[in-house]
């Protein structure tokens, strides 16, 4: 057993300094899709996107990152307009803030953060994760938050086994029919104040599965969502960003 001690020390500190210092994504990282220029486009551009994230109303192109699954179909179809950005901080508190070049100006609901609701909830925020129908990749990224690279405990964030102890409900996946009731139960037994974070594009909008089987849409069809973290799956830093936004520890949202 003692041999584990030097083994644990030999790598030194690998932990990121995020959010104190921004974390740089490697070049070429598919953090999110950027929409360049505003030349008008034909309505056929919409068909490029398998999840309907691209809208073209009267030639004005908008991109809903809450629907974007980072599949590169648009980047391949129109590289001058669409481009991957190596961006980690993708979370936003309003659904509308995820839509680039929003033509309908739908800001969405802005809910109070945990810090605004309670003065006692500054540190030691407990997170309960619920998989409502993800593809499993989100779970890997969420569990990565406890590894030494991200070490979310240093920020006072902890995973808890029971929703009865949870302050934040971290939901992944569009809500399938059998998971709807369990998800609602988890939300119900959480004490007040509580926040819901939709992790991943599937949780934000239902993603690819919307409409085909039992997935009606995103988590906000079932629960009030405080923070949206798009991405397929969102990177661990994006998830951390989302959790800290919900807690009210950071206020900087994803830039448009």
């Amino acid at each position: 057993m003692l041999e584990w001690i030097p083994r644990g020390l030999h790598r030194g500190i690998v932990t990121t300094a995020y959010p104190r210092r921004p974390e740089e994504a490697p070049p070429g990282f598919r953090g999110r899709v950027a929409l360049r220029g505003d030349e008008p486009a034909s309505a056929e551009l919409e068909a490029v996107c398998p999840t309907g994230a691209i809208r073209s109303t009267g030639g004005r192109v908008s991109l809903d990152r809450g629907r974007c699954i980072l599949c590169s179909a648009c980047v391949a179809a129109d590289p001058s307009r669409f481009e991957f950005e190596p961006e980690y901080e993708t979370a936003a508190r309003r659904r509308g803030a995820l839509i680039v070049n929003d033509s309908e100006r739908a800001p969405g609901e802005l809910r109070r953060t945990l810090a605004q609701q309670s003065r006692t909830l500054r540190r030691s925020i407990h997170v309960r994760h619920v998989d409502a129908g993800s593809d499993g990749a989100e779970e890997w990224e969420i569990s990565a938050l406890t590894n030494p690279f991200y070490d979310m405990q240093r920020l006072g964030l902890f995973f808890t086994l029971s929703p009865r102890h949870a302050d934040i409900l971290l939901v992944t996946g569009g809500v399938t029919r059998p998971m709807e009731t369990p998800l609602l139960r988890a939300f119900e037994v959480m004490p007040h104040p509580k926040a819901v974070v939709a992790a991943g594009t599937d949780a934000c909008s239902g993603g690819l599965a919307t409409g085909v089987g039992g997935v009606a849409g995103g988590v906000d069809e079932v629960l009030p969502v405080d923070v949206y973290v798009p991405g397929s799956p969102p990177s661990p830093i994006a998830l951390l960003h989302g959790l800290l936004l919900a807690a009210g520890v950071v206020t900087r949202e994803a830039a448009a």
Binding site: G28, R30, T176, G207, A209, P233
Partner: protein, 495 residues
């Protein structure tokens, strides 16, 4: 290699034809399709199973044609029969428990009745509150574990029947997160289909993309460039390494070995970061496309090699230390022991089967892509317990690193070619890949360049019943060790 198949490759047709007047449907190489009358499907399946064929998939093709696929040495043999008139077929569930879940799925989806099936309760839309009791006896009770489980896990419900402490029986209830993705493929282009396939099981994105594109390419008669095949191997093997390291991390966590958790967590994260730097996605998404690969690797082979060397060195020492830690090994040795006969009966695959000494591996049984040219050994262990499965995974990581090195070496010699163009043709074929959880098989039918039918036989779904059968005198505290040693993903099973 399925343990000692007695049918020489290519003779399944003649063998069954003599008895049942099977009609052969043309199929790409490595695959046989035999049309049979519906009434003899069970006898034909029994004969195949007697000759040590392994059940692979059961699904409905268009025009209500039932297909049951078996792996017979180096071949996939699909028995096909029309259920259009009968809407029922003789159940195969009494031949092998491996057929139970697929038949119930068919029954739920299409209303086709497997006659003689012991239990046709609905599975696809599970009610978490309705728990079924299988064990009758003094003092037994149920523990519903899931769908929302204790930890960051995917949703699945395990109904544990216990008399206190010991697990008497285990009911695995998948399908809580069934998104209906098989029908999502309908009408898409093969390119968009790959995007969907990548999101069936996120932690096996590359394997799903490979199996799907393999099926599409076979159906349309396209061969990707040798270089694309090599890079597919690199991504698939990196995915395997990440999965196996994930299992090691979880097992260390179950044993409360926090430094071990941190160490293996670091190793896994390094692999994920390597994948992100290589292609922009931590899960290798968007790389494998029908006809080839989509983009150039973003890292030089030298960089990949040096990262792998460091990883291998660290892993060797961590593995040695982990397997020398008694508080860890004590929990794994003898937990969830699977006899080879049980694995065979349930048609278990992947590291689960290999941990019980059954050397089944799609990369070896029916080599595909660059695996036809690369050398590797199938890792197996004999004990069949959680420890054996972990050892298999560690050995496989070593073999995967070895495979990646070979691929990088050969890559230097290959010409750069763009992805092959797909003809807007019609065709149907099986495609496969060895996912980290085991053999993954896609059935794809393309009509004039559009996907018509896609069926997925996922290793997770096929191994869940094996997991339920692994509990023999194990106690509640062994549960997470046994589950994590299986390394399955509910998303892949539920689809």
């Amino acid at each position: 290699m399925t343990a000692g198949s007695t049918i020489p490759a290519g003779e399944a047709h003649e063998f069954l034809d003599g008895r049942f007047r099977a009609v052969r449907e043309p199929a790409p190489p490595g695959e046989q399709r035999l049309l049979l009358p519906i009434g003899v499907v069970d006898r034909a399946a029994a004969l195949l199973l007697e000759r040590r064929a392994r059940f692979v998939a059961m699904f409905l093709r268009p025009e209500r044609s039932l297909a049951v696929a078996f792996a017979v040495r180096g071949q996939l043999v699909a028995l096909q029969a029309s259920v259009d008139r009968t809407s029922s077929f003789p159940s195969l569930a009494l031949l092998s428990p491996a057929f139970r879940l697929p038949e119930r799925e068919l029954h739920d989806l299409h209303g086709i009745v497997p006659l003689g099936h012991p239990d046709l309760a609905s599975v696809l839309d599970p009610d978490p509150d309705h728990l079924r009791r299988r064990v009758e006896g003094e003092g037994t009770f149920l523990i519903p574990y899931g769908p929302i489980r204790s930890g960051v896990f995917e949703s699945i419900q395990h109904v544990i029947e216990t008399g206190g402490e010991d697990v008497l029986a285990l009911g695995v209830r998948p399908y809580f997160k069934r998104r209906g993705l098989e029908s999502r493929f309908d009408g898409l282009t093969p390119g968009d289909g790959a995007t969907v396939a990548e999101r069936v099981a996120g932690i096996a994105s590359v394997a799903h993309a490979c199996a799907f594109t393999h099926a599409v390419e076979r159906a349309l008669g396209v061969e990707p460039s040798p270089r694309a095949q090599l890079w597919r191997v690199v991504h698939a093997e990196l995915e395997r390494i990440a999965n196996h390291l994930d299992v090691a991390t979880r097992l260390a966590e179950d044993a409360g070995l926090s430094v071990g958790v941190a160490r293996f967590g670091i190793l896994k994260e390094q692999v994920m970061r390597l994948r992100a730097r290589l292609c922009g996605s931590r899960f290798g998404r968007g790389v494998v496309v029908p006809g080839g690969i989509s983009a150039e690797p973003l890292l030089s082979t030298t960089e990949i090699r040096s990262i792998l060397n460091e990883l291998e060195r660290d892993l060797r020492r961590d593995r040695k230390l982990l397997l020398r830690t008694p508080s860890f090994t004590d929990r794994l040795i003898g937990s969830g022991t699977l006899e080879p006969i049980t694995v065979d009966a349930y048609a278990g695959i992947g590291p689960v089967a290999r941990g019980s000494g059954i050397p089944t591996d799609a990369r070896f049984e029916r080599p595909y892509g660059a695996y036809r040219r690369l050398g590797f050994r199938i890792a197996t262990a004999e004990d069949g317990d959680a420890m054996a499965r972990l050892e298999v995974r560690f050995d496989e990581i070593r073999e995967s690193i070895h495979l990646i090195r070979q691929a990088l070496e050969r890559d230097a010699k290959e010409e750069d070619e763009p992805a092959a163009e797909l003809p807007a043709a019609t065709g149907a074929a099986f495609g496969w890949a060895e996912a980290p959880m085991g053999e993954l098989v896609y059935w794809v039918e393309v009509a004039e360049g559009r996907l018509q039918t896609v069926r997925i036989s996922s290793p997770s779904l096929r191994n869940w019943p094996v997991f339920a059968a692994a509990f023999r005198g194990d106690v509640l505290t062994d549960f997470s060790f046994i589950e994590h040693s299986f390394g399955l993903t509910p998303a892949g099973a539920d689809r």
